[in-house]
Symmetry: D2
Subunit: 208 residues, 4 copies
């Protein structure tokens, strides 16, 4: 394969990009000057060196002047360390941070577990999660009291939550930690008439 088509193939692998748009990307790059292309190329080549992974929550964050082990949330003494929220991806964590509704800590799972997946530990960070959870339980600074599963409300998210409950249960039970899921019910803008049965059931069960 020639290098243009190879580049198109690379862009085609980007999330949400089809072959036509991948090709437009290449034509767009051909209109860029050499300095711009060199910079983009260099940023991609050095991407991983310019990014640190938080040793606690596994979130990606820009490497500063000197290497740090913890991301801004995990390093923040003002966060409530009795709460640990498990989110599928970095982008989920960002959405929650932007909503300004949560002051606890996080763990980024790195994805969701598809139904029937045989090796979930190769998909997401199950081993690191368990290690981190045990560390948090042992640390008691302060005591960890609740693990919140913030999974997407779809079959893959449900499956991920169930797998997590199974895996975390022994540690959770031993340490007397509560495990919770995000509440379900009507979301902003919902009109009763157009609401699915599952959501109505949850909204009714969780009425208050």
């Amino acid at each position: 394969m020639d290098s243009i088509n190879n580049l198109i193939k690379h862009f085609n692998d980007f999330p949400g990009i089809g072959p036509r748009q991948a090709k437009r990307f290449v034509y767009y790059l051909l209109t860029r000057d050499n300095a711009g292309l060199r910079e983009l190329s260099s940023l991609i080549a050095k991407l991983k060196q310019s990014v640190d992974v938080c040793e606690e929550c596994f979130r990606f964050f820009p490497r500063g002047a000197k290497k740090t082990e913890l991301c801004s949330v995990c390093a923040d003494p003002g966060r409530n360390r009795s709460l640990l929220m498990i989110v599928p991806r970095d982008t989920d964590l960002e959405t929650i941070e932007k909503s300004d509704t949560y002051r606890g800590t996080y763990f980024v799972l790195g994805g969701s577990i598809p139904i029937l997946e045989k090796n979930p530990e190769e998909r997401v960070r199950l081993e690191p999660l368990l290690t981190y959870l045990k560390k948090r339980v042992a640390a008691k600074n302060p005591e960890l009291r609740e693990v919140i599963l913030a999974m997407n409300f779809n079959p893959e998210g449900e499956n991920t939550a169930e797998t997590l409950v199974e895996i975390l249960q022994p540690v959770i039970t031993a340490a007397n930690i509560k495990i919770s899921n995000l509440g379900r019910g009507l979301s902003t803008g919902t009109e009763i008439e157009y609401t699915d049965s599952e959501t109505l059931k949850n909204a009714l069960k969780n009425r208050q």
Copy 2:
């Protein structure tokens, strides 16, 4: 105005119908045979005579062979009469019935109360609701224990719920009845990354 344009204007008032579709309706009717038009005309003329309004919940229902006062839900001895759910419209009641998640009774408010509406009692059935609530409280067959406000999750729905709480409060408090709203949180299909702050806040508050 000639009668074609008058008919177009009528159809234009139908919910969700613009002038272009209203005109298509008229052209469509012109292709129908006379028997069909006569039947449609007659069904519309007699619509109200062929429909009863439930004396309890104010729901519309088809008039049977002999006139009945109560709709199928209100007449059903199997329904849980300790619960009363207030819904905006007949269509909301139908969605909830179809979801098969609720076995209590209903009251159809007849709409929602827009923000800044000065005469809400002309918009929706506030007076009849209060009368019916008092009757249910007095009846004790069995005791009414909870009023559920099943309003749309939008500003008009919020406003309606607030107005209802104000109006119902004296009766509710005197009779020691709980007043609740449908639960809020993630609805089916929600992905964390794309969730609005309001919904995240509710999902977090209502986690379990």
Copy 3:
């Protein structure tokens, strides 16, 4: 079937209306006052009496104070009677009139002919078209010089045009009348990159 469900069924037959919206129509009508329902019912019952069909082009038009045989276009001495445009429906005629690009006369076919339709003459006004065409040829006021087929550019429209050519050919040829189709090519807003092959072929063939 009770009369409410019968009415829902009627509305469900309206163009573009599904069962849910049909039901909303009925609930909407239940909120109308009796005078409004009676007027709507009456307009529908008398629809055909309040409408005339043009004796020439078969277009529907509102009946005026006294019955007239011809619609406003066919009665207009300013129209160019050397041109006859055949359109599928009244709504197509209206779109063309609004575009203010055509000053000839029309014939409303009453629909299109689906592919493989065995009895096209039961679907659309083939017989009346032929009769009218012969009359126009004979009249010579002035001589009819061109028949324009203004069909939709889709398989059903293509099929209709082909059937019309077959049926009209003898008269057309004998009277030395030109038969034409609307031109094909790029339509407003078209971008070359996203244009289908068929349209490009036509645009290239019809370049000028």
Copy 4:
């Protein structure tokens, strides 16, 4: 700006990509292995060296084993060199080639000329076009007989066509070359009822 945000900014400049998707691209790249990132980086850095620009039509094409001056179309002796089609961009040329409706030659303008643009020659290849046109006129292998302007059917495309006509006129006239635009009218799938006036006017004018 840190290098992650710098990379997000680069992706944000890609055609059709907003800030949210730009960020997702970066997170996606962080999941790629080092070999994949190095390859992508290298393909971008060497993009321009791996691409040739056709000396005749200015189309981009992958550089083969040895450098060639002409793209596959311009080098093809089977193409009809009496026709020259001017297209805005490489992607337009590709769409036309795929449609398999044109066997002449091309010139890629490199874009369109916005209305009120004061320096169109800095936007698109006007000077190179004029040079190439003169060369083709002089060459007579065979004689160039028609220049086809294949511009988008929108204000910018119209403006580009008008500018081209002005600039090319002297050469065109002297050499007795025809200048044409792609035909206009109904495009595939068009229904008369929903057609805009401009398109109807063109369809009527170009009827045949």
